[in-house]
């Protein structure tokens, strides 16, 4: 872990990478729905006002407009909170972006519970599931600032539509510098032989901490950062499962539809093993500080290590 770097929010990386993309490519346009300050798309807007469109509080129209730009040769970056990008504008993303396979990047900030005090209306627990269900959609959940920066830069060259989820809170650095590429999107950060810990987003750092914790109990945990949830890197996931024979998944998302399901799908088809899912247990969120919420919903290092222990003992 690159602990000497001060934690930064992944949404800030989105803002900086988008600005860089604007400098690199004239055909990059960005849209926002009155959250440009929060999603960080506003930096692009300041630098390239003629290519920035703040459409007001109208997410459906924003997705349609993003499609219109993409049809006309632009690469569109449309940002708002995850809950609105995927829930409110689902049909526009489905009909006007995913089905026509357009190069629109739905860039959703404020994913998960760590939105915090705003409460359940603004905390998306189901966005990854919704996006994973859409044919043609690539689903990306970077783990830290640098990986987010890389994902956004790399997105310019990737065909078809993409969903990129970032978060509100400051998050520790995992990568010293932005990787050149996300590759196939499953990065083995720590090798182990007893159990695999698959994590995405803010849970990756907790998975690494849990592996340390487990080591004290003589358990060797492998940690895999799954940054591309769709298409998931079947080879890497299956190889890890075959090696360790059991796993825990960890995500700031419902246990339904997200990383847990994605890994279980691979396991069911390639390598059936016992898998425990750490995530939000099919409930909505609530108000509180991000740390309080993560504690209350059991998205902590301790719970991750605990679940790993349970899975191991019940093999």
């Amino acid at each position: 872990m690159a602990t000497e770097l001060k934690p930064r929010a992944t949404r800030e990386a989105y803002g900086e990478a988008l600005l860089e993309l604007g400098k690199l490519h004239e055909n990059v346009v960005a849209l926002d729905a009155d959250l440009a300050g929060s999603t960080k798309s506003g930096q692009f807007g300041k630098a390239f006002p003629e290519r920035f469109f703040n459409v007001g509080v109208a997410e459906a129209n924003m997705m349609g407009m993003a499609a219109g730009f993409a049809i006309s040769g632009k690469i569109s970056y449309a940002s708002t909170f995850a809950v609105f990008a995927t829930g409110r504008a689902f049909d526009q993303v489905r009909q006007s972006i995913a089905q026509p396979r357009l190069p629109v990047r739905v860039c959703a900030s404020h994913g998960g519970l760590t939105v915090g005090e705003d409460g359940c209306t603004h905390q998306s627990v189901e966005d990854i599931g919704l996006m994973r269900l859409l044919p043609n959609m690539r689903v990306v959940v970077p783990a830290d600032f640098n990986q987010t920066y890389a994902a956004v830069l790399e997105s310019y060259d990737i065909e078809g539509p993409m969903y990129i989820r970032t978060g509100r809170p400051k998050t520790p650095f995992l990568y010293e510098e932005p990787p050149k590429s996300l590759g196939k999107g499953a990065d083995v950060l720590r090798e182990g032989s007893d159990i695999s810990l698959f994590a995405c987003g803010i849970m990756v750092v907790r998975a690494l901490e849990a592996a340390e914790e487990l080591k004290k109990r003589d358990i060797s945990a492998e940690v895999v950062n799954v940054s591309i949830l769709k298409p998931i890197d079947v080879d890497t996931v299956a190889a890890s499962l075959s090696k360790t024979g059991c796993a825990v998944t960890a995500e700031e998302h419902s246990i339904i539809g997200g990383l847990g399901d994605a890994v279980q799908e691979v396991a069911a088809e390639c390598c059936p093993v016992r898998i425990g899912r750490l995530g939000i247990k099919d409930v909505f969120g609530k108000s509180g500080t991000p740390d309080q919420l993560l504690e209350e919903f059991h998205l902590t290092t301790e719970h991750l290590a605990g679940l790993a222990g349970q899975v191991l003992s019940s093999r």
Partner: protein, 250 residues
């Protein structure tokens, strides 16, 4: 075509047939031999269920063989129930879920403006479709961004699946609504060819977005279909189709 398919939407296709004919064979600059010609005008069928009228115009323009029309909605045919830009030559954008075409058109209009392309975008919508809230989000945006290269045509046939639009959910006064949203509006008889072509040509000269409210008759030209909501999404039988075609050819 719809009879062969066994399903489809004849009513709204007929109400907009005169408008679409004027667009493809008079108003729009387009090249069937080069569908992606950058300087072309664009036609967006927001009311995607009226695919039959779009397919007819595309086929008669030469985008694909006219014979294909007999295979509408068939498993191996490129002519989908609702337009698919990846399957059918000449279709600008996949559509079918109502209310989205105007948003896409606003994005296209702004993109074309950035690229200094000369084309005009003609977006055909339904009056029933105008009950979708997204239409008004897009209408607001078009006026805000002063998209002079955008023409919205409302095929106001007064009917929708469940009955008369005024009974189901009144959308009138449409012209006043568009005006209030900052558009320049012209109301016409959507079956008077002179009025149609004049309005379409006029819309190019308007500085901001232009809206044409075309008063039409659903099922136009077929006596037993005219003004009947039941013909929104029902295929005529072979006998009915024969009678309908005979009436249309008169």
């Amino acid at each position: 075509m719809v009879t062969e398919a066994g399903s489809g939407h004849p009513g709204g296709s007929l109400s907009s047939a005169d408008i679409v004919t004027a667009l493809f064979f008079h108003t729009m600059k387009h090249r069937p031999e080069d569908p992606k010609w950058p300087d072309r005008d664009r036609f967006i069928l927001s009311k995607g269920h009226c695919a039959p009228v779009l397919y007819s115009a595309l086929a008669r323009s030469g985008y694909f063989p006219v014979d294909d029309l007999n295979n509408l909605r068939k498993i191996d045919c490129h002519l989908q129930g609702h337009p698919d830009m990846h399957k059918t030559r000449g279709v600008e954008i996949s559509s079918g879920s109502l209310g989205q075409g105007l948003s896409v058109s606003v994005g296209m209009a702004l993109s074309m403006r950035l690229d200094k392309l000369p084309g005009q975008i003609f977006t055909l919508m339904g009056d029933g479709e105008s009950q979708e809230g997204e239409v008004w989000e897009a209408a607001m945006a078009a006026a805000h961004y002063k998209t002079g290269n955008l023409t919205a045509i409302v095929d106001a046939n007064g009917l929708q699946i469940d009955g008369f639009t005024r009974d189901v959910m009144n959308v009138e006064p449409l012209a006043a609504k568009y005006e209030a949203f900052g558009w320049t509006v012209k109301s016409i008889d959507g079956h008077d060819m002179q009025q149609i072509v004049d309005a379409l040509d006029w819309s190019r000269t308007v500085e901001g977005p232009a809206s044409i409210i075309a008063r039409t008759v659903k099922g136009k030209g077929v006596s037993f279909m005219e003004n009947q909501a039941g013909w929104h999404g029902r295929a005529p039988s072979a006998g009915e189709a024969e009678r309908a075609l005979a009436e249309l050819q008169r």
